[in-house]
Subunit: 213 residues, 4 copies
DNA sequence: CATGAATGAGGTTTCATTCAT
DNA sequence: CATGAATGAAACCTCATTCAT
């Protein structure tokens, strides 16, 4: 019953154990997948008994939720710092992409673990717990950045569709990093940045077929 | 013990039962997720007993594998017909995208089910069964089509990175379709087609920043 | 998932298994108490695996609820037959008591088991599942019979208090039967019947002290 | 390891802590029942850590045993004072009942807690720890008082059976008090006293039906 | 072909107890 | 004296699989 809604102050030892357990859970999820990441496996990786996990977290669901919250918190902080430091729209987009892909490259297991949880964790009624909603904050935020690019324009639909593509491209990079030894994240980032910067989605930019003529 | 390696000839009734069970398994996976799609649930949806499923398939794993193979087979046939009917490189790419997204739009449950299986099914050793490999045939095929576009060029890396982005964009569309009521697949397809056709990834095409000047 | 709200038709084999499991659960509860009557113990007594119990009942709670319902159903049938066969108020009360105590004497384990469940089974919020309410049907029914006795009278309070005493006396007999080798249920029944038949609770019947004078 | 067989002298602080813990255990048992009264719950109510409970009592069983002994000691003292102050047999019986029911009414939680323990606590072999024996001291004592009443007579069986009924009636009052808002303990006591005082259990008293004539 | 019945491994959770600080 | 942390047994439940009918 540790994780009260009211933010509790944890002792140093407690924080260390919780961090260790979250790290082992991340490794278990990345390696064994959602169903394979059992409490027994997590405890074994941490070198403790199963009861320890139940002692420090209200239950497995609580553990998974905190893992997700912890990951998103750290990712958001890291990326926001980079975006806010840029001056132009193009730099913000490039900074967003580079920071995102750098974070993904450095926390590949975390990405994998969070994807496993988000894709599989369900409530008692069978519905996805992290339900994809119409107002996806990640996509909305990115769409705002992209709308400032001249080739995209302020039309909400274009920016939003492009944001969906880019978010998917970022998530795909995580998967490639983990499974494809020859995958070059730096080159991928460059290509993705260029793809976006050269994009001409606005209707007034002329028919795309004509450009080839 | 029906699904031998040697292609067996199935009776009409047998084929009908297998198709019915696969359809119910697809619905169960799409609705309840990987862990929630139990044999009991699948059998209940089909209106038969659990034993029937075990009789027609060697086991749950066999059922899932056949579901995936069946889906890929039908998707490949549908898309190949469209690509082969095109004359120019640009038309082939556009045909590929439109056929793909159309198939996704018409078989949303199938896409969801296959994604659940591919993302979760594991072998006894814990490794993913449908392991993403360096030689992803879907990506390779698409990269071949994209390499013919003037803005991409024959350099393998560019085409491959773009192919990864496009495949991710297609898969993302599947997810949006299922959860976002306002998602417009036709507009998304148009934007994605234009994004690719206007792409300028080749270094010699000039610096992308300059193009804006 | 057998015990649907809609009355399902059970096969002969199924009914036999359910009856056997309920009997073994009754024995386990009577012998080991509420906490000691585990599924493992019940299954061991029935000579089957733990899974069998879960197969035939939705869960332990379902099993316990059905045990209680089954017992009350059989007790009610047995006692009602005797009460309805009587012509006078005194005969109805005597029949009620004798039938009750006879049933208790013949189903001592069942009584003990039901008492264990009623006293201990709780809902998720910690409240007793079989919550004693102001309108206890057993007490109310008995109070109705007692109100017809001349020494009790129609005043609701007297009849109800006496009914509480008599119900407690019946339940106590169950406990004695199980633990006191020298307890004579027939003599107890005679004494209890006489106690009630000689009762003078009405105020107008004269002061009880005066009767001794 | 404090509660040695040899009576140890406790410090003031120690006695206060023990009393506090026993009070909280009583509340926990009354509210949550036997299984729900965990050491964690008791410690939480007392505002101390679980270790404190283990420190002051040899274990949970020791705590429960001392709770029962403490309650019976206080109840016995309170009731004996009232019985010994009476001069006639009828007054002793009435004093016993009134003192008993008054104690029950004033210590409802304690009664509930003791009933929970007595009904559920078991030894390692599964047998009830507070085993109802043939020589129940409470019943024997009450039977001695009742035997002096003219309507009961010296025959041991009558007195004993009536004592069983009266003990059950007293225990039932405890339950009603806790769950039935409209239950009137004073009226119940009056009715129970009159029921006993008007009892005619001796065979020679004539047929009970004739008395109505 | 189809079913109901049974199995048993494996999962999460609870909790009394112990121990170093 | 008191605490937080850890343990490990035991409980209930789920579910893929097997088998006799």
């Amino acid at each position: 019953m540790r994780s009260d809604a009211t933010e509790r102050q944890f002792t140093f030892i407690e924080r260390a154990r919780r961090a260790q357990i979250l790290a082992c859970a991340t490794a278990a999820l990345a390696e064994r997948g959602y169903a394979g990441a059992t409490l027994a496996d997590i405890a074994r990786r941490a070198g403790v008994s199963k009861g320890v996990v139940s002692y420090h977290f209200a239950g497995k669901d609580d553990l998974l939720d905190q893992l997700v919250a912890d990951f998103y918190g750290r990712a958001g902080t890291s990326i926001a710092a980079r975006v806010e430091a840029a001056d132009t729209a193009a730099d913000r987009v490039r900074g967003y992409l580079e920071a995102n892909l750098a974070f993904v490259a450095e926390h590949a297991d975390g990405v994998r673990a969070v994807l496993e949880i988000v894709a599989n964790r369900r409530d008692a009624d069978g519905a996805l717990h992290f339900r994809p909603t119409g107002s996806d904050p990640l996509v909305d935020h990115l769409a705002g950045l992209l709308a400032e690019l001249p080739g995209v324009g302020p039309k909400a639909t274009h920016a939003r569709n492009l944001a969906i593509v880019v978010r998917a491209a970022i998530d795909a990079a995580a998967g490639r990093l983990l499974t494809e030894p020859t995958f070059d994240p730096a080159a991928y980032t460059r290509d993705l940045v260029r793809l976006i910067e050269t994009a001409r989605l606005t209707e007034t930019a002329g028919n795309s077929h004509d450009q080839h003529a």
